[in-house]
Symmetry: C2
Subunit: 240 residues, 2 copies
């Protein structure tokens, strides 16, 4: 299937899921919305899990591209790049309505093909590689003097905090009982955490600059054209 057609189907799926729910959406209605036949859908996807997981895979690929753009920025320290990257999904959670983080647990399911599972693991390896490289460069350039053990411990802590924040933001029940936080509060916590390591320079990027750099990263990214266009699927999930 052509990438444009696939993306158009995935955009329709996203819209339909928002309307009918991740469990109740009907493949026949997706076919109608995406202007293709049921047979076309079934030739590409074995089941609903496969459709939703492909949405998750697309979001993960998008994330790799966005993070690569940040890593390639000139005049930004490795520490600040780590801070900016840590905030990407958090900002996204505040603005988007479909929480795809719920998909991270899906791959254990037998409804997903080995190929689909493998594709996502591949993107996760890329993410890990980019992230590891940032830390390694900070150590090699003598920006960061902490031990390897301390850096690894903090990496784990950051990834857990990051996942927790996304669930926290999306949690309807927590929100209802009055548990709320602003993006600034998460930003401050992340900066405090990263600064708990032994950096030569403890100054960091501020919140406003992080917001505007994230916006720039979207504007300059190769896959970004115009907002809300059906063609620009890699941008459809983020609008800050």
């Amino acid at each position: 299937m052509q990438i444009d057609k696939l993306n158009s189907i995935l955009n329709s799926a996203e819209a339909l899921i928002l309307k009918q729910g991740i469990m109740s959406f009907k493949i026949s209605e997706l076919a109608k919305l995406a202007k293709c036949s049921n047979a076309t859908l079934y030739s590409e996807f074995n089941n609903k899990e496969e459709i939703v997981y492909t949405l998750y895979l697309r979001a993960t690929k998008n994330k790799v591209k966005r993070i690569t753009n940040i890593v390639e920025m000139d005049g930004v320290s490795n520490k600040d790049k780590i801070i900016i990257i840590s905030m990407l999904d958090i900002f996204q959670s505040f603005v988007k309505t479909l929480n795809l983080s719920i998909l991270s647990n899906l791959p254990n399911n037998e409804n997903l093909s080995i190929t689909t599972k493998g594709s996502c693991v591949k993107e996760f390896y890329k993410l890990k590689e980019i992230y590891d490289k940032l830390w390694r460069e900070a150590i090699d350039n003598k920006e960061l003097l902490s031990t390897k053990e301390d850096v690894i411990a903090l990496s784990y802590e950051l990834i857990i905090y990051h996942k927790g924040v996304i669930e926290f933001i999306n949690d309807y029940n927590l929100n209802k009982i009055g548990w709320n936080m602003t993006p600034e509060m998460f930003f401050e916590y992340i900066v405090k955490k990263i600064n708990s390591l032994d950096w030569v320079d403890h100054s960091t990027i501020d919140y406003q600059s992080t917001c505007s750099l994230m916006h720039n990263e979207l504007l300059t990214s190769s896959f970004h054209k115009t907002k809300n266009s059906n063609e620009n699927v890699f941008e459809s999930e983020m609008d800050i």
Copy 2:
């Protein structure tokens, strides 16, 4: 519907979801497995979201009961009770196969009735009340000397860490790229976090005692009878 019949349907739903996936499981097959008619299912649940959310609600009610049992323990300090409670879901994530944490984001969905949403928020209020009471008692009894602001900040941090850990444990992709942690590591982190407050006594419960107390809490709880029995639904999700 009788509570026994409802629980039997929910147990069947859990088994079916594990086999067919949260999106692809069929209501007609659930009826067959639960030995009731499609009409019975549709009289109780409007759609699949409603079924799965009722599973989530049951798990949340179960959690309230388990936490209440811990709070009522004799000879355990408030600090240690907070530590034990913080570990409950984490242990559960290591042993169970169906991750219901993905449901926390569901209630925004229009497929869920107001009653269903409201029931869960009610359970969350109970959880918050129990948790708040523990902290308040620790302060009132002069076990804890920190300011209210510091205690609230740590509560938020713990809840985010806790949610992050559950997602981390259940994340297939992270696991595949070699990100793994043991329950002991989470335990140590939580104890370190809680001890970062200004306690009069910094000694805490150890990991082994926490494990055995959690086991006792299950054995003595009123809803616990025998393992893997269809009748004892409130126990079906935890087996440590």
